[in-house]
């Protein structure tokens, strides 16, 4: 019974560490998706002159993941179809997204872009999205460094914490 309990504690600790580590990696992947979506959004706007609702939908489909869902949801709410302006639509869509995957900094960057999205000419929109993409890239690089540094830490901490707990209990 004691051995079974110890094994369970060890497994739980390892799982906690793996979950924490994968959450960091998932955040990194979402930022990669956001970067890809912004690249696609920029080309839809600059080359296709695609209306924003459709451009958001296509970019969301290309990106996939949580970011893809956010963009797809925003595409339904924005413009003539949904009656919302981009900042309202993206805020609404982000409020339904998992906070762990899209952190407050990322939300801030998206909403800042949303406040000017679709309101100016093609060149200004390209500059806006390019600047946003740069900020997302910087967030992603920082998130990747965090994932590399703290991912290992989470995993070790999970296993070692569980071992310490087992030793304490026994």
């Amino acid at each position: 019974m004691k051995i079974l309990g110890s094994v369970l504690i060890l497994i739980s600790g390892a799982l906690w560490g793996i979950t924490g580590s994968s959450r960091l990696n998932a955040r990194c992947r979402e930022l990669e998706r956001l970067e890809r979506a912004l690249l696609h959004l920029e080309s839809e706007i600059s080359y296709g002159l695609t209306p924003l609702p459709r451009a958001l939908m296509v970019s969301g489909q290309v990106a996939g993941g949580q970011i893809g869902q956010v963009l797809s949801k925003a595409s339904e709410l924005v413009g003539r179809g949904g009656g919302m302006v981009p900042s309202e639509a993206l805020e609404d869509a982000l409020s339904q997204a998992a906070a762990a995957l899209i952190g407050p900094e990322t939300r801030g960057v998206i909403l800042e872009m949303a406040s000017s999205l679709g309101t100016s000419g093609r060149m200004e929109q390209m500059a806006l999205i390019e600047a946003t993409r740069e900020r997302v890239r910087s967030l992603r690089e920082s998130a990747a460094a965090d994932a590399a540094r703290y991912g290992k830490l989470y995993r070790y901490l999970g296993v070692l914490g569980a071992v310490a707990l087992v030793l304490l209990l026994t």
Binding site: R80, V85, P86, T119, R122
Partner: protein, 353 residues
């Protein structure tokens, strides 16, 4: 109703009384109000609820200006609205603020003003249903020739009318004689808001459908819709009923479009709106010389007025147009003042009283 005749033609009743009571309330609620900010939309919606059909159906334009009273232009005058939709004096009327104007602009452009730079440069956008929104604001110059509207301060929403049958009064005048009728080159002349485009549209529909009773065979109709007003294409689809044999070049300059249509689509009739310069007039002349009937319109009080302008005087004098239709608002929009060939030696026949 006046029984006065001009050019042997009985003066037509006002269009407003001719038009079928197409439910303007339903069309506005479906096509326009969702694109306005909440405050503006609420006021207009309440006014539509309060107004009886004759008053409601007389609505021609909705004028929204930042910081100025919300104005509904009816065929017999205009009214200002309070925030609850009651007709009010200007000082008591609802004045949309900057936020509401910005929101309205975003929704009218589908939050995609980058995709409408051409439209914004021309100063208007087309909505589903064919309604046209004129824009005013601050212009930015990119070069000596290119200007774009940057800060939008006001909108003029012109309500599109689907009025069938307005051309009946002039139809016999714009067709040739003989056993088989065909359209003659016709110029429709009137001051703004007198029903030129509505008349063009209805004639285009009649030519496109043909009419067996009067031996008018169906015609292939090509429309050069430089201002997107005749067909009011939205997403490439004409929003007005123009019959089954219509090809539209949307937002295409007239001089380019008319020859392009003639070469590529072999139309029997080319329809275009508002001849406004030398290049337009020359394109009309070339099209007439190519054996195609031209149905066009021009801003002028009457044909004398038109003949005084340098770009159009020779078009009139050389006889490129066989028939002239003069419209006015004397008895409401679409009042036909004259329809027929250029009268000889009777200049007063053109003039409005």
């Amino acid at each position: 109703m006046s029984s006065m005749t001009r050019g042997g033609l009985e003066v037509a009743p006002p269009v407003a009384s001719v038009q079928a009571a197409a439910d303007i309330q339903a069309r506005l609620e479906d096509q326009v109000l969702p694109l306005l900010s909440a405050g503006i939309s609420r006021a207009i919606s309440a006014w539509l609820e309060r107004s009886r059909p004759p008053r409601r159906d007389a609505l021609e334009e909705i004028r929204i200006r930042k910081g100025l009273p919300l104005c509904m232009v009816l065929s017999f005058g205009d009214v200002f609205l309070s925030s609850d939709g009651a007709e009010a004096r200007p000082e008591q009327a609802f004045c949309p603020d900057a936020r509401e104007v910005e929101r309205t602009f975003a929704l009218l452009t589908d939050c995609s003003s980058y995709a409408m730079e051409t439209e914004l440069a021309t100063g208007y956008v087309t909505l589903p249903g064919g309604h046209r929104v004129g824009l005013s604001g601050r212009m930015s110059a990119f070069s000596t020739e290119k200007y774009v509207l940057r800060e939008i301060h006001g909108f003029n929403i012109r309500i599109a009318r689907h009025i069938r049958g307005v051309s009946e009064k002039v139809l016999s005048r714009v067709l040739t004689g003989g056993p088989e009728k065909r359209p003659r080159s016709t110029l429709i002349v009137s001051p703004p808001r007198a029903g030129k485009t509505t008349m063009l549209r209805d004639l285009a529909r009649v030519f496109s459908e043909g009419r067996a009773q009067i031996n008018l065979p169906p015609c292939q109709v090509g429309i050069v819709d430089e201002r997107s007003e005749i067909a009011a294409c939205y997403g490439g689809v004409p929003q007005h009923d123009l019959g089954p044999r219509v090809d539209v070049l949307d937002r295409c300059p007239k001089p380019v479009g008319m020859m392009m249509l003639i070469r590529s689509m072999s139309p029997d009739v080319v329809v275009t709106d508002e001849i406004g310069g030398d290049a337009d007039a020359r394109a009309c002349a070339e099209a007439c010389a190519a054996g195609v009937a031209i149905l066009a319109s021009a801003h002028a009080r009457d044909v004398d007025d038109l003949a005084r302008r340098p770009y159009s005087s020779w078009l009139v004098e050389k006889g490129y147009f066989e028939v002239f239709v003069v419209l006015s608002r004397r008895n409401g929009p679409g009042t036909v003042e004259y329809a027929g060939p250029l009268p000889e030696g009777d200049e007063t026949g053109w003039r409005l009283p």
